[in-house]
């Protein structure tokens, strides 16, 4: 056994150092653990300041002793490599371990142990923990806003229907797969808009929706007898024409009368709210801002100077102003720009404003993708005799969009996170509802629970979206 030099741990006294170091390290962790979980202070006999620093000092000495390079013990080497490379890292690792140990008990007790779950009034919330009863009682308001309780199945139903319609892509046969883009870009947003706007708001406008359904069913039935060469144009024109015909010329009075027998109650958009409004707004802005953004991205790279300057002006304007002023504009300034008898719903104005705003960001992201494509792609497409639109639709855009999936996902994430701002125009989605509930005299003092609840919901949505975009990126990754 060689001489031990405590300032230089070496391999010849490996086990002495290992046992001594691990012992000191464990003592330090144990001290913090006991302190935080059982509020015992085993070093209480020391002066306060030393007792506070002791775990850190002991842990540091312990980690110093076990920092032996190439010890031959696999676990020890792994530990040294990951948390114990040098003195500075050792101190940081210790601090992080201690912070985690210290913060677990209060968080646990606030969330679960001292929290109250049962009951449906404020009286049960006497503990020091969170009052989840508050969330339970207000759950419907947080989810559906001021939407009448009896009618909320309509919101659920439309979301389920939209999800089913949206998943058509998974179930479509190969024969129809080539129409999927058309479906998702043109038809699906149209159906979704009809569904959400007319079905959820109900009332007289609901019949617009019924006309839409009748028109769609009729035109699909007739569509079977149309030669396949003309089918595209047929479905482009006939359903819309039929819808207009139904609405303005044929059944108008009769259907209104019929509807009074058992129609849907009318719910104005001001009563919509909660998480469902967050979804509705994000969804519409998402499907509207993408095509607009794409158009301006192409416009900014166009060869026509006037179109280019207009696109640059549009993009830079929306990117330069904050969303809150845009919403202000849509609330107080936009009605001035319309004819006096022309009224646009508050929610629709909001959706237009956010879509235009986000479209500018989408445009910049897509432009990045267009610029990243090698010139050869453009030249190859042109040399095949393709025109501008053919080249972009079949060659350039599919590649460019693939490149910018992460950027577009980030823009969409930003969009979802921006939806709470609609409180400016008086629409209350989940964060707005929280602020309303917070001021209710019966439920004062539960702001924290509400914000934590909303934060968890948003975090789950955003994290899931970012993970999904990452998967998408991996799936479409093609090596060059």
């Amino acid at each position: 056994m060689s001489k031990i030099n405590f300032l230089k741990p070496d391999k010849s006294n490996l086990y002495t150092f290992l046992y001594l170091g691990s012992f000191l390290f464990l003592i330090s962790v144990l001290d913090v653990l006991l302190n935080s979980f059982f509020s015992l202070n085993i070093t209480g006999f020391l002066p306060g300041f030393l007792s506070f620093l002791l775990p850190l000092i002991l842990g540091f000495i312990g980690l110093y002793f076990i920092r032996i390079e190439l010890s031959g013990i696999k676990q020890l080497d792994l530990l040294n490599k990951h948390i114990n490379t040098n003195n500075f890292n050792a101190v940081l690792s210790l601090l992080i371990i201690f912070i985690i140990l210290k913060s677990i008990p209060p968080i646990l007790s606030w969330f679960f142990i001292d929290a109250s779950f049962a009951g449906d009034s404020k009286d049960v919330c006497t503990g020091s923990g969170a009052c989840w009863t508050y969330i339970k009682v207000w759950m419907r308001r947080f989810m559906y806003g001021m939407y009448p309780n009896g009618e909320q199945w309509r919101i659920n139903l439309s979301f389920i229907a939209l999800a089913l319609l949206g998943s058509v892509g998974y179930f479509a046969t190969d024969k129809f797969k080539k129409y999927l883009t058309l479906y998702y870009v043109v038809i699906y947003p149209f159906i979704a808009f009809l569904f959400i706007f007319f079905f959820i708001s109900g009332g007289p406008v609901f019949f617009d929706f019924s006309y839409g359904i009748i028109a769609a069913i009729l035109s699909i039935i007739v569509g079977f007898f149309i030669p396949s060469k003309l089918k595209f144009y047929y479905f482009l024109i006939v359903p819309l024409a039929l819808y207009i015909l139904l609405k303005y010329f044929i059944f108008y009075e009769e259907l209104i009368e019929l509807g009074k027998l058992d129609g849907l109650n009318w719910v104005e958009t001001g009563a919509w709210g909660g998480l469902s409004l967050t979804f509705i707004i994000s969804f519409f802005c998402l499907i509207f801002c993408f095509p607009i953004g794409m158009a301006f991205a192409l416009g900014r790279r166009s060869g026509f100077p006037l179109i280019r300057y207009i696109s640059i002006g549009f993009i830079e304007f929306w990117r330069g102003v904050p969303l809150i002023t845009v919403l202000f504009m849509s609330a107080v300034m936009f009605p001035m720009f319309l004819p006096a008898d022309f009224f646009i719903d508050k929610l629709v104005r909001c959706i237009i404003a956010i879509s235009l705003f986000e479209a500018a960001y989408v445009a910049e992201v897509i432009r990045g993708g267009l610029q990243a494509l090698p010139r050869g792609q453009y030249e190859a497409a042109k040399s095949l005799g393709m025109g501008y639109w053919r080249m972009h639709i079949f060659v350039i855009l599919p590649q460019a969009l693939k490149l910018v999936i992460p950027g577009i996902a980030n823009t969409f994430l930003a969009l979802v996170k921006d939806t709470p701002l609609i409180f400016v125009v008086g629409l209350l989605e989940i964060v707005g509802m929280l602020n309303l509930a917070k001021t209710n005299p019966e439920w004062l003092g539960f702001a924290m629970e509400g914000y934590v609840f909303a934060a968890i919901i948003f975090w789950i949505i955003c994290y899931a979206m970012s993970k999904y975009s990452y998967n998408l990126e991996q799936k479409y990754k093609t090596d060059r």
Partner: protein, 383 residues
């Protein structure tokens, strides 16, 4: 020049569409304003505003003009943006470097921070800090002093005020130090390029920036004293601190949440930038005998900065624009003071919203011009 219909047609159509849309809007606006008896004009800016603002950097009360109110809001916006940018940069750089640490715990801790804060809407974070976290602070009479001089209470943060004598002399000495440093840097660079001689620029700079202001204290007659906030009783249960500088809780909540939120994005930019520098660069630098510090300073950082600057500029712009969320917690920024209170009082929707938007637009453009200039300066000079 040969005009072709194929070239002119689409452009003409677009311009026509834009002109038509704008014309439609202007026409309607004129008709609407006439029917409601509103006149268009910016004359109201010089009228007396007759409303008060809680927190202002310049002297202001109800007897000042609307233009003064606009300036108050603008300065408050700039104040919170500058504080936010500084804090977010410091935090973002630290977290970004921590995410590249070989230490597993630090790495995961930083990753957790980034994933946590950037996936929660900023507005929610502002509300959380303002309505939930800062409300848990002690009342003024119960507050414990931090370092004996400043007090963090539910009514805001009270810090000592600086009271200067002959502030001008001190200010000029700092300016002189900065100019001297710039000259020395340029000179040192020239010396290095022509003769290969290295001068310890950093040491000289640090020395200058301390010694010149210190000299102004010794011989320039500059005096500095502190005014510490003192607790004062207004009524039996109402206390307040007097003297010193008070930062309202709105400002603290806003600056805190803006910097915590933006720091996550800056951290990702920094990480991407440092990862973007090829491994070969570091190895090559090490193999010609540079020390690790020199490798970082002379090889890695100049290249990483080129990748970091453009996205970080975007984040600064976002932070400035996001500061307009102040309106939600009644921090008197541009949107709240001008597009909120002033608009309600005057009813001049078009004028006020357009001025507000134009102001943000020019703030954004000036930041981006500044950063573009810096970016061009450090970009690769291809020969």
């Amino acid at each position: 020049m040969n005009f072709k219909l194929k070239d002119i047609g689409p452009q003409l159509m677009t311009v026509l569409a834009v002109v038509l849309v704008f014309g439609f809007f202007t026409y309607n606006a004129q008709v609407n304003m006439e029917s409601r008896g509103i006149d268009f004009g910016y004359g109201f800016l010089s009228q007396e505003s007759s409303f008060d603002v809680q927190f202002s950097l310049i002297e202001y009360d109800g007897s000042h003009s609307y233009f003064r109110a606009y300036l108050v809001g603008l300065l408050n916006t700039i104040l919170v943006s500058v504080i936010g940018i500084i804090l977010a940069t410091i935090l973002g750089v630290i977290v970004g470097i921590a995410r590249l640490s070989p230490n597993y715990l630090i790495n995961k801790f930083a990753a957790f921070y980034v994933e946590f804060f950037r996936n929660i809407p900023l507005l929610l974070q502002i509300f959380f800090w303002y309505f939930a976290a800062l409300r848990a602070l002690p009342l003024p009479q119960d507050a414990e002093a931090m370092f004996g001089i400043s007090f963090l209470t539910i009514k805001g943060l009270y810090v000592p005020a600086f009271i200067w004598q002959n502030f001008n002399v001190f200010f000029y000495s700092v300016v002189a130090a900065i100019i001297a440093i710039i000259i020395i840097r340029i000179h040192a660079k020239k010396l290095q390029e022509t003769k290969g001689k290295q001068t310890p620029v950093l040491l000289i700079s640090i020395g200058l920036i301390f010694i010149l202001p210190l000299l102004s204290f010794l011989i320039g007659g500059v005096r500095l004293s502190f005014e510490v906030p003192v607790l004062k009783q207004l009524a039996t249960t109402s206390f307040i601190y007097e003297g010193g500088v008070s930062l309202p809780p709105e400002l603290i909540a806003l600056a805190l949440s803006l910097s915590l939120y933006t720091a996550t994005f800056i951290a990702e930019c920094v990480r991407a930038g440092i990862q973007g520098v090829g491994k070969g660069q570091k190895e090559a630098a090490a193999s010609i005998g540079l020390t690790p510090n020199q490798v970082l300073k002379l090889v890695v950082m100049p290249q990483a900065l080129r990748i970091i600057i453009p996205p970080t500029t975007n984040q600064y712009l976002n932070l400035t624009k996001n500061s307009s969320l102040a309106a939600a917690i009644a921090y008197p920024d541009l949107v709240l003071v001008f597009a909120g209170t002033a608009l309600m009082q005057t009813g001049k929707a078009i004028e006020i919203v357009s001025i507000t938007m134009f102001t943000y637009l020019s703030l954004s453009i000036s930041i981006s011009i500044l950063m573009n200039w810096y970016n061009r300066k450090i970009a690769i000079q291809e020969k």
